[in-house]
């Protein structure tokens, strides 16, 4: 099966610009998560979708971040306007619905650099 795919793999933008990250989960996985690792810090949870609904967005840093998952398939994470502290690696993960023991399947991540 195809794994979780993320696009782009690397993005370099200037402060103030907008960037949109995309995640395609494994087909049939209703749970979709966004995580972020800022340099030198832990991988932090951002938010969790169940199908198209936001189940938990407690980890979103501020209102410059907007995540969507229209149709319950792929998801986008938009940062507008980007700030220097947004630099890091953004991971997407998916898992099956209702499967409490189902492991998270991670994508390769998108490395965002804001200059």
């Amino acid at each position: 099966e195809a794994g979780v795919t993320q696009f782009p793999s690397h993005s370099v933008i200037e402060k103030g610009q907008t960037v949109t990250l995309r995640c395609d989960p494994i087909s049939g996985h209703d749970n979709l998560y966004w995580y972020r690792r800022v340099m030198g810090k832990e991988i932090k949870f951002l938010l969790h979708f169940v199908k198209e609904s936001k189940q938990d967005e407690s980890g979103m840093p501020n209102n410059r971040f907007l995540a969507e998952r229209t149709g319950g398939t792929y998801s986008t994470l938009k940062v507008q306007p980007a700030e220097l502290e947004d630099s890091g690696v953004y991971f997407c993960a998916s898992s099956q619905i209702g499967a409490g023991n189902s492991p998270l399947h991670f994508g390769n991540g998108t490395r965002l650099t804001v200059t």
């Binding site: 794994g3 991971f91 991540g109």
Partner: protein, 110 residues
Amino acid sequence: AQRVTQPEKLLSVFKGAPVELKCNYSYSGSPELFWYVQYSRQRLQLLLRHISRESIKGFTADLNKGETSFHLKKPFAQEEDSAMYYCAQKYPNSGYALNFGKGTSLLVTP
């Protein structure tokens, strides 16, 4: 806030030596704990979880509630074990979101 601590940033051992990657958590209830691994140029993947009480690639991890620890162990390290290891805890009462430690880079040298 719940916190997962991995005190070692880097751990270097010789091939064949025992290895222990430390992980401590702060949640006082009944945690669900995991170890994830990221090999070079690969994606983050699940290594093992405490509820399964399994051994994967020779690794085991025992939950010690008294010490609030979930250390990862392997009696004889192999070069292919070199990778980044992350301890993670599932947020209580919050779906399946994970709380990760900072990770420990394991280097196994010949």
